[in-house]
Symmetry: C2
Subunit: 336 residues, 2 copies
DNA sequence: TAGTTGGGGTCAATCCATTGACTTCCCCGG
DNA sequence: CCGGGGAAGTCAATGGATTGACCCCAACTA
């Protein structure tokens, strides 16, 4: 800036005013300064900006997953790419970190906060009894919880969520209509808020319809557990006629396992994947799946965060209910 | 820091010395200062640090992919998680950005450089005729090229690469041994350096053995193109007896397509995937695949970058040659 | 003509940590 | 008893952008 000031024959303040579009300089000067800046390829140093009160121009994103669980998961990359789209417009950077568990994640937030490294964060995989919203609220770090249920206890945080309950209800509805009465839900990680929501809803729906042979089994989302649970439940004397998997990976693994056990899909057992991705169309029969727009999900979350950074109020936004895409893996239940 | 200085009854300089382990303060004072700092939960502001000459304590990572191509790809998340592991030890942040193409990527580097946002970057998906190494060299931004071939033109950059040529040779070797003479390689994006290396090696190996019905077809890595190409080549009068796919996604899509066309795997056609992941064991028959440790790949790259940041010399490091994991999708060629 | 006003700028402080130059004070040797 | 030297600290400048306080002058008003 000193350079620019010199070459344009004005003070540094004038340069600052000119470049930030604030009054205090004539249009002529402004133009001159702009041209010099352009010519010099000048960009404000984020560090200096930050020191003088502006934010860090960065938002944080932590993924708490044991390294080996990060496998074939289309959801996160899509989410992140949606987030980026919005952040890029405002020239906000995304500081990304992978950690082992939520405790480490909290430590990261604390550090980022103390170091003033980020202006806000995006939180994923909310849990029942999650320490993160409390921490972020306490630190006063703007945050958007992605996939959480609305939470009154932390009015400082925004929430963006999909209506898992509604989606689960519609899946059960569909399966019930097809005549399925024995349904097993191969769920994801037990502590996660959306797992709990799905499990609860399934139970409620079953009760409402008087179904007794409906249950959820939690897993770690891995293909291995998906296959193992499938093998176990299909080995029962009265095996389920429909399986709902909480992600695409387990659904594929499960369907393969079913085939190995001599079950034909969908004649003997119907399969639904909770998450639509290329995977679902890479196997035969094509997997029926719950589809949502993860990229748009990311965009929405990022938009909420920027709104928060602009001083807007915390909000709770619901994205469209995931839709059941019926393909080939679901069909009428075989008569008992 | 002012706070700490006050409470510990010393000057700010003393605090700085104490906390950074430099001489100039007594052990007693140092301890006192440390305790006060700890108690206050103090962490140096990265911005201020950066202004006084230290780096940004951040490295950049840009992924140039059209949003819709980011699909089911285990490689990047694994790579990133390996990178993180090493960076986290040194408390270095990872600034992550997704862009559309290499041109945008270069713009991002320029911006980061001008804003002093990153101390170095990790470059992935090097291409033939890649503008990035030149740019980074010119900017003097420390960089590690991941997956590039050694490149003498830019002595400032480190390179971490896997020996694709060696791996391709071993795959061809294996297939040849099994009696395959008509081989099609469903390759990745044409401009990528490793695609070119694989294609070239395949041609060389074919020539060496006098095979005339061997070829590579480039694609965009998507399941759709993988399936389409498979359909096309298997529809020929003399279809190939072995298919090599440049990623797991296309391999699965291709194998499914082959099955639909009435080809039995591996009896009629053998399939090899270049990238081992859970996917390969989620389909039947299990996919034979080239396996490499992507997490370790990431760790190595990050280590090279930190070495570079410490002022070390640029180096070229080769990670172990990917190994062929023979599963069920490869077998002896059917007699002509 | 004296006084007011506002557009166009400048000055200097501020944010926070680091660091080279300098000051104190104590201990030891001569 | 004095001077040299080293340990322990302090002072103030530095880096880059922002910003509240102030200044100057031309034009307009009473």
């Amino acid at each position: 800036m000193k350079d620019i000031a010199q070459r344009a024959g004005v003070s540094e303040s004038a340069v600052s005013f000119a470049l930030n579009g604030r009054p205090g300089v004539s249009e002529v000067t402004r133009d001159r300064v702009r041209r010099v800046a352009e010519q010099l390829g000048w960009r404000p140093s984020t560090a200096a900006r930050q020191l003088s009160g502006e934010g860090a121009a960065t938002v944080g994103f932590v993924l708490a997953r044991p390294a080996d669980t990060l496998g074939v998961d289309s959801f996160f990359l899509q989410l992140v790419s949606g987030i980026q789209e919005v952040l890029a417009e405002r020239h906000l950077g995304l500081l990304f970190q992978v950690v082992e568990d939520v405790t480490d994640e909290c430590a990261v937030y604390r550090r980022w906060w103390a170091e003033h490294r980020v202006d806000g964060v995006l939180v994923v995989d909310p849990r029942t009894d999650d320490p993160r919203p409390g921490l972020l609220d306490e630190l006063g770090l703007p945050a958007v919880v992605i996939g959480g249920a609305p939470d009154e206890r932390h009015p400082g945080l925004s929430t963006v969520w999909a209506d898992d309950a509604g989606a689960m209800a519609s899946v059960v509805d569909e399966l019930y209509r097809l005549g399925h009465r024995r349904i097993v839900h191969i769920a994801g990680l037990p502590g996660l808020a959306h797992t709990e929501r799905r499990v609860r809803t399934l139970r409620a729906e079953a009760e409402r319809r008087g179904l007794t042979e409906v249950e959820s089994v939690t897993t770690d989302y891995s293909d291995a557990e998906g296959a193992a649970v499938t093998r176990r439940v299909l080995g029962r004397p009265a095996p389920p006629t429909a399986l709902i998997y909480d992600n695409d990976v387990m659904a594929v693994a499960g369907m393969t396992t079913a085939a190995e056990l001599g079950f034909s899909v969908p004649a003997d057992v119907s399969v639904v994947a909770w998450e639509d991705s290329a995977l679902c169309r890479m196997v035969r029969p094509w997997l029926s799946a719950l589809s949502r727009d993860s990229v748009e999900f990311g965009r929405t979350a990022a938009r909420e965060l920027t709104a928060l950074l602009d001083g807007g109020p915390a909000r709770t936004v619901r994205v469209p209910v995931p839709q059941v895409i019926v393909r080939e893996s679901t069909g009428a239940a075989r008569r008992a």
